[in-house]
């Protein structure tokens, strides 16, 4: 019974969780990406404009080539993603815990990558990733995997516990923390905490984890020991829940930055943006305030003057 349960969790359930995670995340991303192009709502400095800054600082700026330096944009995004720059600058207390939590995630993602890579090596070239290996880089890979996994679990757990403590003790945060906020944190604490116990008790060198991933590659899911089974269950639940929660901000953030704050694409007469917006002007708007024309298109609304005196007899 125990083995069957473990197999069901580690096998079919995990496949299903990954499929749901990928599918729902993609669906949400596509939904966001296909929303209409909004009016310009820039927030400066716009990273990709580089050190020269805003084009609006130049006379006849429309004659200048549009500055889009990808390197500056990537550098700014990297600072934000890997260092949580804005939280560091404007909310240091939260950064003290939010940063370890996010670093924990990044390290665990890195750990998953290393485990998958190790599993592939074992499957394809038969090389055993181990501290006892005579091949140097197999040893190095083993050490890196242990370091990333252990550090990720410890940092993640520390960060989540700190954030939970803040949510309970900070009066200002309390009112903005609904039960689901606490549920999210408890789920993460369980994920990092059980993972830590599983590592210490059942799989200190991540040999089982690597073997498990290899078993998933070949569609012959391995049976896991009890704590690792529980961790797999938690991971599966987390993966299914993640895209439905506000934790999907990791994907939404790209659109916030790239498509809203930094969307400085000018409208050029006859260009694609001109045509796109021109299409929107045919949308029927149904707002019903007295100064609006009921049922009129955007174009009709924009060219209607509600304050114009009505002609007599009309």
């Amino acid at each position: 019974m125990g083995e069957t349960f473990s197999w069901l969790i580690a096998g079919p359930f995990m496949y299903l969780a990954v499929i749901i995670f990928v599918a729902v995340t993609l669906k949400k991303v596509v939904t966001i990406a296909s929303m209409p192009r909004h009016l310009r709502w820039d927030l400066y400095p716009i990273a990709h404009e580089g050190p020269a800054g805003s084009v609006f600082q130049k006379v006849e700026f429309w004659k200048q080539p549009r500055a889009v330096h990808l390197a500056y944009e990537l550098a700014e995004m990297a600072e934000e993603i890997f260092l949580l720059k804005r939280t560091f600058l404007y909310n240091r207390k939260m950064w003290n815990f939010s940063y370890p939590m996010h670093a924990g995630f990044y390290l665990i993602i890195g750990w998953i990558g290393l485990v998958k890579f190790g599993a592939l090596l074992e499957l394809i070239v038969g090389l055993k990733v181990s501290g006892a290996s005579t091949v140097f880089w197999a040893q190095a890979l083993n050490a890196a995997t242990i370091l990333a996994g252990a550090a990720g679990l410890v940092l993640g757990l520390f960060g989540c516990l700190g954030l939970l403590w803040m949510r309970y003790t900070d009066e200002d945060l309390k009112d903005f923390s609904s039960p689901v906020t606490f549920l999210n944190l408890y789920l993460l604490i369980a994920l990092f905490g059980v993972g830590l116990v599983a590592w210490l008790v059942e799989d200190p060198s991540f040999v089982l984890a690597r073997g498990y991933v290899a078993s998933l590659y070949v569609f012959k899911p391995a049976v896991l020991p009890p704590i690792m089974t529980f961790e797999a269950l938690l991971l599966g639940i987390f993966l299914i829940y993640l895209p439905f929660s506000r934790m999907l901000h990791f994907a939404a953030k790209y659109f916030f930055y790239h498509n809203i704050m930094w969307d400085d694409e000018p409208l050029v007469a006859g260009g694609s943006l001109d045509k796109t917006i021109g299409g929107y002007l045919h949308f029927k708007a149904e707002w019903s305030a007295p100064h609006l024309k009921s049922g009129g298109s955007w174009l009709e609304q924009a060219t209607t003057n509600p304050a114009k005196p009505k002609e007599e007899g009309k």
Binding site: H38, Y44, P45, G53, E60, F256, W287, P290, A307
Partner: protein, 534 residues
């Protein structure tokens, strides 16, 4: 004293939910607080002042249960429309993302001058009204909200009190978007505030009178938000020409309706009414620099403001389209917007995605042009004529929201002696709003101005005092340079009158062009004068 007001409390009966007193506010050095004026008894009887004891909207509570139900239903219909592309293509993506992905970290709070200066009152948090919107939206329009209710935060009751307090609350934010600049995720509570204002305006017909009826509607009716008709505009120009002659000893013919000019200059019409020395200074500079320019006497063509920017997409589009049409009629090559922050942002940037097809005529702000005038050498300036301490205000709309940071500084450095120009704290894109943003400078109904001057402009008052901390002695004349009409309005009402900076410290305020003309070698008499101000 900090008043604990939980989000759920917004629906509860209370005479005043967060009764603000001057003792709550963060002190301004050297300023002796005066208690707020007593609210008139007839206001208390007639209007809803139950948010904080102030009113920007003069809302009358619904008289019957049916009227309340209609109000609630209308609000919900409007809220739904914010999330449909046909009704809100203009801002649907940022609204939807800001609704779904705020992590409630409160990082935005300390960025907000209204929240900080109010003594950190809960209701003024930048995410307070956004969170209310989210909770209401969740409760009525999402599956998890309907099924799980308060577990997912959908726990705010929607009644007339919630709606009215929320409406008032949208007029406690200047939409300076300093909060958005600090958000780690990118959530824009300034935008959410505007979306709420939009819902109230476009669906319920609720908006500040100064912004809507006395603003946009008058603009569309008369040609100017000031009520200045084209004929009155022409009279004003004649007056300005007389004024210029008196000031510089020669007459300049201000070009009006010059077909095919290089530049159509559009001012905030408030300048013609309240600060005519500003368009006068522009005329002197452009004339001296030999620039081919004109003003328009066409209805809407001499008025740069666009109050729709602050509350209503359709009103915004109507004004922007009419302004560009006036320019097209003249056949000018480009439009330059004068010293007005929101007018610049509205016409140059936001309208970029409204003025499509043949309305895509080039538009720019005036600050780069002013910098070009200085660097081109077309006019000789003597910096020693501006030998007094000057500090510079960064209008949110031109600086944080358009990135125009250096031109005005380059101008000031060129026309002032070393050491006279000093930055204020947080200068540049992280500046603080003057307190007059989002229409506050033109909103004067009921007791709202008292709230505006005492709370919204308080941080700016502190910044100015800090910038001039080494020369506060009234024997030293000082100049607060605010290249924006709205910001000057806030300076006049709050800094000069409410906090008494003119009388107490000998600080005057004005635009950038006045300082430029003051430094012109060819003009003998000072253009900037402290004597006139006293």
């Amino acid at each position: 004293m900090k008043h604990k007001v939980r989000l759920k409390d917004m629906a509860k009966p209370a005479e005043v939910l967060c009764p603000l007193a001057v003792t709550d506010l963060d002190p301004v050095p050297g300023y002796e607080e005066r208690p707020f004026k007593q609210v008139k008894p007839e206001w208390k009887e007639k209007y809803d002042l139950s948010l904080d004891g102030f009113s920007a909207l003069a809302l009358t509570p619904p008289a019957t249960k049916e009227a309340e139900e209609e109000l609630v239903n209308k609000f919900l219909r409007g809220l739904e429309k914010l999330f449909t592309k046909e009704n809100n293509w203009t801002f649907m993506q940022p609204t939807a993302l800001s609704t779904d992905y705020c992590v409630r970290c409160n990082t935005c709070n300390e960025a907000c001058p209204v929240y900080v200066e109010s003594g950190r009152q809960d209701i003024y948090r930048p995410n307070y009204r956004s969170e209310l919107l989210r909770k209401i939206y969740q409760r009525y329009f999402t599956t998890e909200g309907r099924l799980l209710g308060s577990f997912v935060g959908a726990d705010v009751e929607l009644n007339w009190r919630t709606i009215y307090r929320l409406a008032e609350l949208t007029y406690r934010c200047t939409i300076c978007r300093r909060c958005a600049a600090t958000c780690p995720v990118g959530v824009d509570n300034g935008l959410m505030n505007r979306e709420l204002r939009k819902l109230f305006s476009q669906e319920l017909g609720i908006a500040s009178e100064g912004v809507h009826k006395g603003g946009t509607m008058r603009h569309l009716q008369t040609g100017s938000s000031t009520g200045m008709t084209p004929a009155a505009f022409l009279d004003t120009i004649e007056f300005i020409e007389d004024d210029i002659e008196e000031r510089i000893g020669r007459r300049i013919k201000i070009p009006i309706d010059k077909k095919g000019a290089d530049i159509l200059l559009i001012h905030n019409a408030g300048e013609f009414v309240s600060w005519p020395e500003n368009p006068a200074a522009f005329a002197i500079l452009l004339d001296a620099a030999g620039i081919d320019w004109t003003l328009s006497s066409e209805s809407m063509g001499y008025e740069g403001v666009n109050y729709g920017t602050w509350y209503d997409d359709f009103q915004f589009a109507r004004v922007a389209v009419a302004q560009v049409q006036a320019a097209k009629k003249l056949g000018v090559r480009r439009i330059v917007v004068g010293e007005c922050g929101h007018a610049t942002k509205a016409l140059v940037e936001i309208a970029d995605r409204v003025c499509v097809g043949d309305l895509a005529i080039p538009r720019e702000g005036c600050l780069p042009l002013l910098e070009q005038i200085v660097t081109s050498g077309a006019i000789k300036f003597d910096p020693s004529k501006n030998n007094f301490p000057i500090t510079l205000h960064d209008p949110c709309n031109m600086v944080r929201l358009m990135g125009i940071v250096s031109p005005q500084r380059n101008v000031l450095k060129a026309i002032t002696p070393p050491g006279c120009f000093r930055e204020m704290p947080n200068a540049g894109v992280m500046n603080y709003c003057c307190g007059g943003g989002s229409g506050f400078a033109v909103m004067n109904s009921m007791n709202f101005p008292e709230w505006r001057d005492s709370v919204a402009s308080r941080m700016k008052a502190k910044q100015v005092l800090e910038a001039f901390s080494d020369c506060l002695d009234p024997s030293i004349p000082k100049y607060y340079c605010a290249p924006c009409s709205n910001c000057k309005g806030a300076a006049r009402d709050a800094l000069m009158e409410y906090y008494g900076f003119r009388d107490k410290y000998n600080i005057i305020y004005g635009g950038l062009v006045e300082l430029m003309v003051n430094a012109m070698v060819d003009i003998e008499k000072p253009f900037v004068s402290w004597e006139d101000e006293f």
